[in-house]
């Protein structure tokens, strides 16, 4: 009886601690999202019920399909690259004897650079008359329309990797630090080499970190819109026309019904993906 009472008190205490944060999330995230779901079934300005008409419009919209495919392509390109390169860097850094902290700072610095400054650098490098084209010209090669051709996608990928590499590397380092050294020692005693240790000890122990890093990197991938918009405006080259461009333009045209429907679809897909990832990790 006494144990039950204590447990009840702990449950209520726990709830009270969580309550302020839960209230904030409810007011600023859950309720607005519920409103978005509601708006996805109504007309933009009049609020009249239209059923699934908005969803039909969105799925039939070629701009949405293009933006969605670009966003998916970007995610599928960047995520594996970012995860693997940042892991490799973390492993290398962990085994360094000196300069570790300095290198960590250097890799983290891009995160501290404001988007506007990044954009300036983009323009200096990738403009038609920018640094890279000038170098190409001096080498006798043809100039490239970095932002006005398919290369724009590559520039976007490079920018995303450059900005987020340090962050993921730090997360990997934290994961690596959590692996007991004794396991490696025991493995080496048994004759395991570096590669075998990496495959059989490091990777399995980093699974939980992998889940966190994947999810965070996926969410960060949406932030690349800032630089893309600042450089190329509302209508960039087709290869870097992302979902946020479309939402931003629909916002300007007061197409809130389409934004709501598209946002619900996107959120649904992201939610399903994350749940699948979680299930995958739990199964393993």
């Amino acid at each position: 009886m006494r144990k039950k009472r204590i447990r009840k008190v702990r449950d209520w205490t726990g709830l009270l601690f969580v309550l302020p944060s839960l209230a904030g999330v409810t007011v600023f995230t859950l309720i607005p999202f519920a409103d978005v779901v509601r708006r996805s079934f109504t007309a933009a300005v009049t609020g009249a019920w239209v059923g699934l008409a908005n969803y039909q419009t969105v799925f039939a919209n070629t701009a949405f399909r293009l933006a969605a495919s670009n966003t998916l392509r970007f995610t599928l390109t960047c995520l594996p690259l970012l995860v693997t390169v940042s892991l490799a860097l973390a492993v290398l850094l962990q085994n360094l004897f000196f300069g570790k902290n300095l290198l960590k700072s250097i890799y983290l610095m891009p995160m501290a650079v404001p988007a506007a400054s990044v954009v300036l650098v983009w323009k200096v490098l990738f403009h038609q008359h920018g640094l890279i084209n000038s170098l190409l010209e001096k080498m006798g090669l043809a100039q490239v329309g970095w932002m006005s051709t398919g290369y724009a996608f590559g520039v976007l990928v490079v920018s995303y990797l450059w900005k987020n590499l340090g962050y993921d590397m730090i997360l990997w380092l934290a994961g690596l630090a959590g692996i007991p050294v004794e396991i490696y020692e025991a493995a080496r005693v048994d004759g395991a080499g570096e590669w075998r240790c990496f495959l059989s000890i490091t990777l399995p122990n980093l699974k939980s970190s992998l889940y966190t890093i994947t999810v965070l990197s996926f969410l960060n991938s949406f932030k690349v819109f800032r630089e893309a918009w600042l450089v190329a405006g509302d209508y960039p080259h087709q290869s870097m026309y992302l979902l946020q461009h479309l939402y931003s333009n629909w916002f300007r045209d007061l197409s809130f019904d389409k934004i709501a429907a598209a946002a619900v679809v996107t959120a649904g897909i992201v939610f399903v993906l994350i749940m699948l990832l979680q299930k995958l990790w739990e199964t393993d």
Partner: protein, 767 residues
């Protein structure tokens, strides 16, 4: 040890948190102390609403150009001004009113020999005398100088001798004891002896230079560009910095720099109890010398003070009434602000008007409407700031957020906005009822008020329009046809050697000047873009530019590039046609005419040079008009009746005859009235000058009204305008950004078209 440090640290962390929390609470409680609004509502209305506010009244004055006004100790008001005569010089007269400005009697006049003198300004002292600055030629006639005159209440005038230590006086004012203060050139002011002109005291202004001076009793105010410096007139000692006054004067970065010789942007007054008053476009304010509060007694937004083009000349305070002399155009007027306890403090009705950029005609109409309807307040706000910190797209997103939140404006000025999208979403109400009322009252040009008619409903109507115009050599104007013909004509002209056949900016920016007469032709019926026609536009505008480039001065190219960089957008607000181009040797000029005076200049130059004419400009479309001030009423307007009333007012003759650079009125009645303001061939009010390209001599050109034939020609051309220019800003930005590169040779016309199509395909795909 570690535990001890943690305990100590935890205690200090708690203490720091407590201190920061207290600081935060104190910070949140702080309020700005320099500004309060006057609690004018002393009384209570029947429904408990606050009553009482200052009401504006325009007073009848003698037919003079008023230089100053003063309130004299015996309760009379005195005006000083110059009578108006045709071509000659009028007399400088002083008129008094003993009944608060209702009637006037001539009290005195300056000597007749002063009639020929041109006073830059005159200031009255409390006794009815005064002093003034005269602008005249030097004795040898080679230069212009200032002379200074003082006069008494009876008009007896004497010249104030020049002082060796004063370069030049810009204006005078008087202290409460009759001290004469002169504003020097640069950054100084002087207390001068009225008889000998000797300097008794020198005052140094704030910052780099003094814009103007004012007096409040025994206090001299020297207004700089970011600070007002105060001095004791008697001792010459600087007075303590007045934080509240400075904060209020420069709150919004207001610029008080004087831009005309006949008026200023702020005037000061005072009463003997130490209260200072000042008037600016923002209203009338009161401040106790040395106090911490600046009270706004009259809001400029609700009276004539905020009318565009209004300059201030002087003010007087008598009892609780304020008298302000203003300049508007070629006239002065006297406004009285008296307290009315029966008028609601805040008007019962409010109409909110929104536009992306400032529309001077609407700003003007707001003031006029409020004067006629004291129960209605019109709040006019703009989305874009002057510093370019907000883009049009950002402003639209903010506006859309407000609309969706139900707090959007009642009236939208749709220039630069996605009109079709707003119509489709039901944001705009059907205003065909307003159009019917306007048809009856104003007899508008039908094509213009029906441009946004869909399925029998009208959603938008412009209040003004600009007319693409081609002017120049009669032979060339007669040969010009569409875009291709025009480009061929310009490129093949071999008669104009040296400077080129067309005005240089027309060539450098041929894509911009010809945009509105071409853009509509690029739309297929299904709304997609016709690549062929777009390519033709790129090719022909490039042809025009390339043919003239070798003939254009490098300096002009540089200026054009600088202007383009400053403006941000390649499409400027006005693309006027300048008749003076033809005196500089050019044979053709094109642009968008927006006032009768532009066409008058073409006519005036024709008088001098001969063989100059004008015609509507055609590109890939003809008979195009560029709508301006496109109005729509929100379907969610809080007070639709008041909103409609204001929109109807904007089409009345009173509003339509106000011409402030926004274009011709869409009201046929108003257009005709403006066209026939003077008789054909009559001398206008303006004159300008240019340089003879061969001799370098200055040529003065007086404005003459069009001949009857030219008036008929213009009227006929306007009647035929039936095609609204394409106003889609996404298309315009996409095209002009690429056409600029194409004209500069950075890409080929095909590449430019390809880039535009890419953008437009995305835009159209978004639906």
């Amino acid at each position: 040890m570690k535990f001890f440090h943690w305990k100590k640290r935890r205690g200090s962390v708690k203490g720091a948190a407590a201190v920061l929390s207290v600081c935060m609470c104190l910070g949140l409680m702080a309020v700005p102390s320099h500004m309060t609004y006057a609690e004018e509502g002393d009384g209570n209305g029947a429904d408990g609403s606050a009553m009482g506010r200052y009401v504006e009244q325009t007073l009848e004055t003698p037919d003079i150009w008023i230089y100053d006004i003063a309130a004299m100790p015996d309760g009379r008001l005195r005006l000083i001004g110059q009578t108006k005569t045709e071509g000659g010089s009028g007399s400088y007269e002083m008129w008094d009113s003993a009944d608060g400005g209702e009637s006037w009697e001539k009290a005195a006049a300056l000597p007749e020999e002063m009639n020929d003198k041109y006073f830059l300004n005159i200031s009255l002292d409390q006794d009815g005398g005064g002093a003034g600055v005269v602008f005249c030629s030097s004795q040898d006639g080679q230069d212009f100088v200032h002379e200074y005159y003082s006069f008494d209440a009876r008009g007896k005038a004497v010249q104030i001798p020049e002082s060796a230590d004063i370069d030049e006086i810009q204006m005078f004012c008087f202290g409460s004891q009759g001290e004469l203060i002169g504003q020097g050139l640069g950054n100084s002011a002087f207390r001068m002896n009225r008889e000998s002109g000797e300097t008794e005291q020198t005052f140094a202004g704030p910052g780099d230079y003094t814009i103007m001076i004012g007096v409040c009793g025994q206090e001299l105010l020297m207004l700089g560009d970011s600070e007002v410096q105060r001095y004791d007139i008697a001792t010459g000692e600087p007075l303590p910095y007045d934080e509240s006054l400075n904060a209020q004067l420069f709150e919004n970065g207001t610029d008080y720099r004087i831009t005309t010789t006949s008026s200023v942007h702020i005037v000061f007054g005072y009463t003997d109890d130490g209260r200072m008053y000042y008037v600016s476009a923002e209203g009338i304010f009161a401040h106790v010398q040395g106090g911490t509060v600046v009270e706004q007694l009259v809001s400029g937004g609700m009276c004539s003070l905020s009318e565009p083009g209004t300059g201030l000349i002087g003010m007087a305070v008598m009892g609780e009434d304020f008298y302000v002399v203003c300049q508007k155009g070629e006239k002065t007027k006297l406004l009285k602000y008296g307290y009315s306890p029966d008028t609601p403090t805040v008007p019962e009705k409010e109409v909110r008007v929104y536009s992306l950029k400032e529309n001077e005609e609407i700003r003007q109409a707001v003031v006029m409407y409020q004067n006629a309807h004291p129960d209605t307040q019109i709040s006019y706000e703009t989305g874009l700031s002057d510093d370019g910190g907000v883009t049009a797209a950002d402003a639209l997103r903010t506006l859309n957020t407000d609309i969706m939140a139900g707090s959007g404006p009642d009236i939208l000025v749709l220039d630069g906005m996605p009109i079709d999208s707003y119509i489709e979403k039901g944001v705009l109400a059907d205003i065909s009822g307003i159009r019917d009322a306007v048809r009856e009252a104003a007899n508008p040009f039908e094509a213009m008020v029906s441009a946004w008619e869909k399925d029998g409903a009208v959603y938008a109507m412009p209040i003004r329009f600009k007319m693409p115009l081609l002017a120049g050599d009669s032979e060339l104007v007669g040969q010009a046809g569409d875009l291709t013909r025009l480009a061929d004509l310009i490129a093949s002209d071999t008669d104009s050697a040296g400077s080129g056949v067309i005005y240089p900016f027309n060539a450098l920016l041929s894509d911009v000047y010809l945009y509105h007469v071409c853009a509509g032709a690029w739309r297929n019926e299904d709304g997609t873009i016709n690549e062929e026609k777009l390519l033709e536009y790129m090719v022909q505008t490039k042809k025009i530019r390339d043919s003239q480039m070798p003939l254009i001065d490098e300096q002009i190219i540089g200026i054009s590039e600088e202007l383009a960089a400053e403006q941000g957008s390649r499409m400027p607000d006005n693309l006027g046609v300048d008749g003076l181009d033809f005196l500089e040797g050019f044979r053709l000029s094109f642009g968008e005419a927006y006032s009768i005076h532009e066409v008058n200049w073409i006519s005036s130059v024709n008088r001098m040079a001969g063989n100059i004419t004008f015609a509507p400009l055609s590109g890939q479309q003809s008979n195009v008009f560029v709508p301006y001030g496109i109005l729509g009423v929100s379907s969610m307007a809080a007070d639709p009746e008041s909103a409609r009333s204001f929109v109807e007012f904007l089409f009345t003759d009173e509003a339509q005859t106000q011409s402030l650079g926004g274009g011709f009125p869409v009201s046929r009645n108003a257009f005709s009235a403006m066209l026939h303001e003077k008789e054909s061939g009559a001398l206008g009010d303006l004159s300008t000058g240019t340089e003879d390209p061969e001799t370098g001599e200055r040529i003065i050109v007086d404005e003459y009204w069009m001949t009857q034939e030219e008036m008929d020609q213009l009227e006929k051309a306007v009647e035929n305008l039936d095609t609204a220019a394409d106003t889609d800003t996404v298309l315009m930005d996409a095209v002009l950004s690429q056409s600029g590169k194409c004209l500069n040779g950075e890409c080929s016309p095909e590449e430019a078209v390809s880039a535009v199509m890419q953008t437009m395909n995305l835009y159209l795909a978004e639906g």
